[in-house]
Symmetry: C3
Subunit: 351 residues, 3 copies
């Protein structure tokens, strides 16, 4: 399905220069775009690539347009934030190509008679919904999902296939939950009595705000006594572990395989890199960026980027440096001895 540029701009804004009737069928990167596609330039370092793109139109900043515009044969859409404009344009095309969701409950689904499901919701094959659950308007629950008792799911949220939500968890509006997510399993809480572990019942919930996306196979545990809280707009990648009683602030993004230990509190507008680990019971303020593979052991009270992983090297070089790291104490002692000797020599010398 083709779209005229003027329709795009009417819908998304931006300043269009060129033929408003140019038709485009979709969006593609600078190097791949065909003459029926629109492309985007979000980083000035790709200007020379932009000059050669085949695309029918380009989204770019005013600064880039000042340089490229005169020579560009296609249409241009000048936008404040070309990358965000690209995202919205991609959403625009995706919505046009989307397969409509048919409301209704698949006959193979098992719903408790006390569950409330909006008539506009789509409930796929083999879905199981427990007593007292509330499923809001236009929610989509795909095949094999199991929704525990008293769970609430907000309007327009989408649960992909094989998601499991334990009892009493609450999810806001417009959530996207990917397959294999487990929300509300017991937190890891035990008391030790003479070597034997005694389970501490986990009676809190998981509370998810609006506009949250949760990647495949991510797990979010229910709180022990209080709740685990994920605020509005948080984006979680795949295979992340959020332990009991964590609190993640609005618009924070966490990359794949990160693990957040119990009762950690992460601020708003943070980013946590892939496979990073956040220790339990620590607090990280707003606007902190933890790099991939980094373990945050203590609270972070100042915005900025924080890093800590061992630099990669050829195996033989690593072996040498790792041995020296273990013996840094010896090195320091040698330096101290040298300092003493040099001091003595210098004093003698000055006598």
């Amino acid at each position: 399905m083709r779209t005229r540029l003027k329709e795009l701009v009417q819908s998304l804004g931006g300043h269009l220069i060129g033929d408003a009737d140019t038709q485009v069928s979709g969006i593609a990167p600078l190097s791949d775009a065909t003459t029926s596609q629109i492309t985007f330039l979000s980083n000035p370092k790709f200007r020379s690539q932009a000059a050669q793109t085949q695309a029918a139109a380009i989204i770019l900043s005013a600064a880039d347009d000042a340089v490229l515009g005169a020579d560009y044969r296609g249409a241009r859409i000048v936008a404040d934030n070309p990358y965000a404009y690209f995202a919205k344009a991609a959403q625009f095309f995706a919505a046009r190509n989307a397969i409509p969701v048919i409301p209704g409950i698949h006959p193979s689904a098992t719903l408790d008679p006390t569950a409330q499901v909006a008539s506009s919701a789509h409930i796929g094959p083999n879905v199981v919904i427990g007593a007292g659950a509330v499923i809001d308007e236009e929610v989509r629950i795909e095949a094999g999902c199991v929704i525990g008792r008293n769970v609430k799911i907000g309007a327009n949220s989408c649960l992909n296939a094989n998601v499991t939500i334990y009892a009493s968890c609450e999810i806001g509006a417009r959530a996207i939950i990917h397959s294999g997510v487990v929300m509300g399993a017991d937190g890891f809480g035990f008391a030790n009595a003479g070597g034997t572990w005694i389970k501490i019942p986990q009676t809190g919930r998981v509370l998810i705000g609006d506009d949250v996306e949760i990647g495949a196979n991510t797990t979010i545990d229910r709180g022990a006594l209080a709740d685990t809280v994920i605020e509005d707009g948080v984006k979680l990648d795949n295979q992340i572990q959020i332990a009991h009683n964590c609190h993640i602030g609005t618009q924070t993004a966490i990359a794949a395989c990160a693990s957040i230990a119990g009762s950690a509190r992460i601020g708003k507008y943070c980013s946590i890199g892939g496979a990073a680990m956040i220790h339990g019971h620590i607090t990280i303020v707003d606007h902190v960026h933890v790099s991939a593979g980094t373990l945050a052991l203590r609270s972070i009270s100042e915005p900025g980027q924080y890093t800590g992983f061992y630099p990669i090297a050829k195996h033989g070089d690593w072996e040498k440096s790792a041995t020296l790291v273990r013996n840094l104490n010896t090195m320091r002692e040698k330096i101290r001895t040298l300092e003493k000797s040099v001091k003595q020599l210098t004093e003698k010398d000055n006598e």
Copy 2:
């Protein structure tokens, strides 16, 4: 449902001081407890907080009671291990609030005719149970679980929704298995022939003892020729990977996202921190504690705590230190050169 303190003490022990008819409805932390709840003090550093709690009663040690008891207006339960007592009390209240499990097999479940399921067991919607499987008394298998042929599940065990157990695995009594767990998938075993991988069939089983808890999305692979063994009382958090032929000793606890490589042998009463990695074919003795984010490359033959992760820093500081770590060899050479020079100077000086 309210409970008189005397009922609690009759059930759990401990020395009750104060009004035995005091009624409590549940348990809460020091700061949150209301006048109808019981609380606990497990760490002397919170004594001042304990002095101000609103709780109707407090669980505490004799030592803490000696300090706080005189001034405390509520009832006190003096226990040897207040934290373990709290866990048991929480279990006591959770049991009272638990929704009774109804025995029986949901009509949508698919059971092989040769599977043996105890009449007191609960089999949820869409559960699939293979030939020859044996499901013991009061086992609970929630929706969407798939139980392979010849699997054995011991009495009172609970499998939450969407758990997958491959053929021939055995689980003891009172297990708690969380959603998304995969037990008995093939271990990662291949022989290389001229660059091409040839699969080694994985014909061992997974054997799980009694009282084991396994967190959401954790995977435990079957053995290659022999079995993978998890002893009694082991507690595994979420997203842990246990490779083929591992052996985990009794009461060992492993935190989320840890990975244990093939044929590793971990002793009893150990703890493995979150995202820690245990190398293959190594042996760790009893009572070893591996810190979060630490890679154990070699066997550990002495109890104690072991750690190894790069300290976090502001990104710029990390870059500097990481560069120096790579060049530690140069630093050592400079120290050696200095030592030589200083030695010569000192000798000359003493001539």
Copy 3:
């Protein structure tokens, strides 16, 4: 079911010395093999163990046979690559003991009328297959799998229970996909506009070659605009994360819990160790081996083994070395100061 050695050799090759009518029932390691089993010696360091094995026959190299053959009372199979021969022999026995797969579609499965399923395929209970999907000959799809629309699965592939494949992904022939795998979920792609994340629709696919094995709970995201590609013969262990637009070359093996960030390109015949992390947008050439727990931050252009993780130590020792790592800059400054002083002293001394 017993097998005569001559049948094994007829099927797998190798040079048989000894009684070709010797019957064996299976394969076992040197130390465990009984007199009715065959064993193998793949590493000369176990020669003394081989000399004492009870096995009816042994697979070994010509070099090992030259040393051990004269004294060995059982039959010997001399093979170029004894470990690969063992793998094939284990497959031979496994095939004999395998439970035959019965073609057909379980009545509880939900298939879109436009899905094409070969008559020799096995579709288990509660499987859901979307519109336009194509399931080739002798494919096995176990209980609870959800196959999205337009998915293609090649001949003889096996999906274990509870696998989820999103729309339009393609899997080659002879794949083995373990339970909990999620393939084709959205990549983690967002544009930031004034602090708020805007989703970038993920419209690429996942393309899997022939002879690929994917471990339990591994996730492979669909591409953003282009596709995520896994070439023939790649072996992925459990709980691996492959982000959008990655490209993994043929016969590369990746161990459990590794995470490969977006648009990373890994060559052929590589190995990535457990819990290793590969940064986004980097390129790793063929025949590179990244050690466990190592973060590869930059492209690697030369074959070889690369490592980078902090060495484990007793916690107290680690604390000291970690502090010194943070202060390496100070140490370097002290060395510089010393060098200056020693230079001055040496110059004075030479005056």
